[in-house]
């Protein structure tokens, strides 16, 4: 089995986990979680240097990942559990009282793998920039990755982080935009256009790489390779724009904002799960 096929199988299982978690919790954010599943899978199961069994919050000696769009917590939790940070069975506690799997990622529950709380939008990229700066001044050669939402990029702080990272030549940071064009109130263009996100990042002094199919493992790895090549030449942060599909993998959730923050009913979840093979065993 090729490595790409292995990753695609993992992504299937993570999508099933996301759907089952939000259905069981009767709340949560399936749409964006499904649209970002492929890149997070690529990072945790192939790209990143990390040690799930010996994780500590300093991230020293390892790559670090920050989920700026914290509402995609089901995706993060599934990726962490499936890569060995904590038992997969714990996914069943998502959003339940006393759980380490809070609605949005938290550090005070001591869940391994979470570096920083996120969920109030626009903040995670700044923390990732700080962590990358910390690695640079500590001479830690590892990288920092961060996932940002396209709707989230309407927050002013994203652009504060953009100018800081550019000015301070944060060249050990690769960020991704989940460019699915949807947010709670509608399409990003309807809510507050124009988007032009790729041009904005360029204008802020970042190198920009576009993945034409942000749900394709092949395109994701090509984009990361190109980002690394750019960083080898120029000391700049890189933004990878992933052209993704909201709700990817479930026909009735794709390309609509309807499932941004809504849990499917049990019968809807059943219909969705029929479209995604169970590759590693459900929790």
């Amino acid at each position: 089995m090729s490595d790409i096929q292995r990753l695609k199988d993992i992504a299937c299982q993570i999508r099933r986990d996301i759907l089952r978690m939000v259905t069981m919790a009767k709340s949560g954010h399936p749409g964006g979680s499904l649209s970002s599943t492929d890149v997070v899978t690529a990072l945790y199961f192939s790209k990143m240097k990390h040690d799930p069994k010996n994780w500590d919050r300093s991230g020293k000696g390892f790559d670090m990942f920050f989920l700026s769009c914290g509402h995609e917590s089901p995706l993060l939790y599934s990726a962490l559990a499936r890569s060995g940070y904590f038992p997969v069975s714990e996914l069943a506690t998502f959003r339940k009282i006393g759980s380490r799997l809070q609605g949005h990622p938290a550090t005070d529950t001591n869940l391994p793998g979470v570096f920083e709380a996120s969920g109030s939008l626009g903040q995670g990229l700044s923390v990732a920039v700080g962590a990358a700066l910390g690695k640079k001044i500590s001479k830690d050669p590892n990288k920092v990755y961060c996932l940002v939402g396209d709707g989230e990029s309407q927050e002013g702080q994203i652009w504060e982080a953009a100018q800081f990272a550019s000015h301070h030549k944060i060249d050990n940071l690769i960020a991704f935009t989940d460019w699915n064009g949807q947010q709670i109130d509608g399409t990003t263009e309807e809510v507050i256009g124009p988007d032009h996100l790729d041009q904005r990042w360029k204008a802020f002094g970042w190198n920009v790489v576009i993945a034409e199919d942000g749900n394709s493992m092949e395109d994701i790895f090509s984009a990361i390779k190109l980002a690394e090549e750019l960083q080898a030449i120029e000391p700049k942060p890189v933004m990878i724009m992933l052209k993704t599909v909201m709700g990817k993998g479930v026909d009735f959730m794709e390309g609509t904002c309807k499932w941004h923050g809504k849990a499917p009913k049990p019968e809807e979840c059943e219909a969705a799960l029929k479209q995604i093979p169970e590759t590693l065993g459900d929790f």
Binding site: R57, S58, G59, K60, M64, A106, T107, D108, F115, E116, A117, S118, G119, S120, G122, Q123, G124, S126, V127, A128, V129, G130, A131, A132, L133, G134, K135, I137, S138, D140, G156, Q157, E160, A161, Q163, F164, H167, H168
Partner: protein, 317 residues
């Protein structure tokens, strides 16, 4: 009464600057970030001596707070410096989520607090930051009283593991605490022993409280004067022991009554003791332009007003 000597007026922000430089020389993990106010908040000495550990953020305070949180993950001890109005008010959500909730080791150096920022006026005179910051779980809130104590508190904040909000100001105020005293976070400093009233002050109003105690002594009234340099965690024992003895309390702070130190003491007294309490603070109105001395008088925060509050408290016993 115990005598305190003003060794010469100095600004508390310069105490912060000296403290930062001092702990920066001792500990290479200390880093500093500013948002285009490095001179105003006296970070320029640190920035000059340690250019590789100083990061200019531009006028973008929200990002600065979160970058500091990210740096702290790597074991750095970041001090972010800006005006208190921005450090507490403008970026409250960033402090709440990335510092307090995430339990990051970020030190917020909040300068130019209160009305004594002076001529810039109410836009910059934050009077609610003690309340905002003490409401956050896990946040340590320190309000030192003079130059020396601000310097020593800065050093202590760097050595403290966890988020700290360190509040200080712009004007030159009497400098009277020991020069190189180890600052104890969480300790209420008892400055004078009396029997008739407990005066609890914080920040540079501690000096005003001492002046008030001198004035009261002429009337045969003696006051316990407490420098509440740490607002949170609160030294309950020192306060309750004093109130048990004196039977009445005055609080004095450069802050709104709502959410301030006085209300916090009222809560403490209501839960374990009952004693008349008079608050010297600003009552539900914004500040305005003026000199620090004019504003202290106009807003009723000086020694004269503290003494009057003590007389009222005693009469209610």
């Amino acid at each position: 009464m115990t005598k305190y000597t003003n060794t010469g007026n100095k600004d508390t922000r310069s105490g912060f600057g000296e403290g930062l430089l001092s702990i920066g020389r001792e500990c290479e993990e200390v880093v500093a970030l500013a948002a285009d106010l490095k001179g105003s908040v006296k970070m320029d000495g640190f920035a000059k001596e340690f250019p590789d550990r100083f990061f200019q953020c531009g006028i973008a305070e929200a990002n600065m707070i979160n970058v500091a949180a990210g740096l702290s993950l790597n074991g750095k001890i970041p001090f972010v410096g800006t005006f208190a109005a921005f450090a507490a008010g403008r970026v409250y959500d960033q402090v709440r989520m990335a510092v307090a909730y995430s339990e990051t080791n970020v030190k917020i150096a909040a300068s130019h607090a209160g009305i004594t920022l002076g001529e810039d006026g109410a836009t910059h005179q934050i009077l609610e930051d003690i309340g905002l910051m003490r409401m956050l779980p896990g946040m340590t809130v320190i309000v030192p009283c003079d130059f020396n104590q601000t310097k020593n508190a800065t050093i202590a904040a760097a050595k403290w593991n966890g988020p700290v909000y360190l509040r200080f100001g712009r004007p030159s105020v009497p400098n009277f605490t020991p020069e190189n005293e180890v600052f104890e976070i969480g300790k209420a400093y008892k400055l004078n022993d009396g029997k008739d009233v407990t005066v609890i002050a914080t920040g540079h109003l501690v000096w005003e409280a001492l002046l008030a105690a001198e004035e009261l002594e002429k009337e045969g009234v003696t006051a316990d004067v407490i420098n509440l340099a740490t607002i949170k965690p609160l030294d309950r024992e020192t306060i309750l022991e004093s109130v048990k003895k004196t039977g009445c309390v005055v609080t004095a702070e450069e802050h709104f009554i709502f959410g301030g130190m006085g209300e916090m003491i009222a809560g403490l007294l209501a839960s374990c003791n009952t004693a008349p309490l008079e608050m010297v603070a600003i009552n539900d109105r914004f500040g305005q332009s003026g000199t620090p001395a004019e504003l202290m008088k106009a807003y009723g925060l000086d020694a004269e007003h503290i003494a009057a509050a003590a007389r009222r408290a005693i009469s209610r016993k």
